[in-house]
């Protein structure tokens, strides 16, 4: 009744009854743009606060708890502080690239929102190559990082950008191969098809060993791809001050920061969609009674619950593992994860052909 798709349809009908089709489309585009910007800002504020609270909880301290109830307004206060800071451009920098880089980071983060299904039948564009689109667009991210590092005229930045480039392109391979495992099992690249294939049970339960291996590989690979600890060599504080955004300050720094958190959200949303069923409620085979009870929980709550569970997992990694060295990092990918995920893909193919999954 109050589902997102219902509201969207009602809005569409109401607008069509007042305006002609062209104006309806224009107004819907504006509304979608405003909604996505709102989601962006809200996610940024929530995730930064969540990171700090989770960190505090893991280290047995309180964390931000003074601004607003339970520190809820802390990230709003931080944003206000960042707005009044000066956005400095160093005198030796390549001014054009330096100023364009945060925009590209934001555009990439925003474009990745398109194929994500936030709730039942609620998606910006359900394209038939959804999964391929995600891996194609997310690899543009490395360009903004290289631009930022190269144009800053700072050795720390250049070093951080180079490391980040090597790391992101390496880990993209095993992330792609673990996504392909699910594509082989489903037989479609479309996000809605992948979710509907999990109506009798999520892939992580239906898929046995190959999907478990793929899930673990995927989580490791996306942690590295989003430059999160223990793979945060691109901005290793203790050696490179702040890595590729050493020279950025004020709002430009805030944009990089926001893009990083949005990317974490997006990869977790993709992981939840592929392995944990997206908005699909927890269903067990043909237990109709049980499935019916589960359907009462709204699909958007299922989606955000799974996504935030994965985000919590990635934050947990950050405060548990020490940082890797660059050669260890590349060894882990090329000598362990890549061969494992290649063999795992063959295993998944054999299983899909034999029909051994439920």
């Amino acid at each position: 009744m109050w589902s997102f798709s219902h509201i969207a349809n009602e809005l569409h009908e109401w607008l069509s009854s007042i305006f002609n089709p062209t104006w309806t489309l224009v107004i819907e585009m504006v509304l979608a743009g405003v909604a996505v910007i709102g989601l962006f800002a809200a996610l940024g504020l929530v995730l930064v606060l969540m990171e700090r609270r989770v960190a505090a909880w893991i280290q047995i301290r309180l964390g931000p708890n003074r601004v607003g109830p339970q520190g809820l307004l802390q990230s709003l206060a931080d944003t206000l502080k960042l707005i009044v800071k000066e956005g400095l451009t160093p005198s030796g920098a390549d001014k054009l690239l330096f100023n364009v880089a945060p925009f590209i980071a934001m555009i990439v983060a925003m474009l990745l929102m398109a194929p994500i299904a936030f709730a039942k039948d609620f998606q910006l564009w359900d394209m038939n190559i959804g999964v391929l689109y995600v891996s194609a667009v997310s690899s543009i991210m490395v360009i903004s990082i290289l631009m930022a590092g190269w144009s800053s005229n700072n050795k720390y930045s250049l070093m951080g950008a180079m490391r980040s480039g090597a790391q992101i392109v390496s880990y993209e391979l095993s992330a792609g191969l673990s996504i392909l495992t699910i594509v082989v099992l489903t037989g479609s690249l479309q996000v809605s098809d992948i979710i509907h294939a999990q109506a009798t049970g999520w892939w992580i339960f239906k898929g046995h060993l190959p999907v478990w291996i793929a899930f673990v590989t995927f989580i490791i690979a996306v942690t590295a791809e989003t430059n999160r600890a223990p793979f945060d060599l691109a901005e290793a504080e203790s050696e490179l001050t702040a890595g590729f955004h050493t020279e950025y300050s004020g709002m430009k720094f805030a944009l990089f920061f926001l893009a990083e958190y949005i990317n974490v959200f997006i990869v977790c949303a993709i992981g939840a969609t592929l392995f944990l069923g997206g908005w699909m409620p927890f269903h067990i085979g043909n237990w109709t009674q049980f499935n019916h009870v589960m359907d009462y929980i709204p699909s958007s709550i299922w989606f955000f619950g799974k996504t935030f569970f994965l985000i919590f997992l990635i934050m947990w990694f950050r405060w548990t593992f020490p940082r890797l060295r660059i050669d260890q990092l590349l060894n882990l990918e090329w000598k362990y994860l890549l061969p494992i995920s290649m063999i795992n893909l063959l295993l998944a193919t054999a299983m899909a052909i034999l029909g051994w999954h439920f």
Partner: protein, 116 residues
């Protein structure tokens, strides 16, 4: 919404970042001096040029990545039809992976995967 959503998203991203940066320049009352524009180097002046050549290892990894990335793009159409094609798809992908893995082993033997 279809393909037009991509245009909406790009415009939204540019508008969001643009407004945020504009807002901060509006409330700003900055001053300019010579020290302020220097690159951050923990208080000491930068030695030599910044835009230098880096370790060749990065280049080698980029080259190997290129091979594997092209291979990954070939795998996407295969993965969609693999289940319906049956064992023929399996045999084909085993041959494909075998050739690729030989190239990977060659690179490994040549020491391209070793960090210098």
């Amino acid at each position: 919404m279809g393909a037009s959503s991509l245009i909406v998203l790009i415009i939204a991203a540019v508008a969001f970042s643009g407004i945020a940066i504009m807002l901060s320049t509006l409330v700003l009352k900055g001053s300019k001096n010579k020290q302020k524009g220097e690159p951050y180097e923990c208080g000491i002046p930068t030695q030599g040029k910044t835009w230098i050549q880096l370790n060749v290892g990065y280049y080698l990894f980029a080259l190997i990545f290129l091979i594997f990335d092209v291979e990954l793009v070939f795998l996407y159409p295969w993965a969609v039809v693999a289940k319906s094609m049956g064992w023929i798809a399996m045999i084909e992908i085993v041959i494909f992976f075998f050739i690729l893995f030989m190239g990977f082993l060659y690179a490994h033997k040549k020491g391209a995967l070793k960090w210098m």
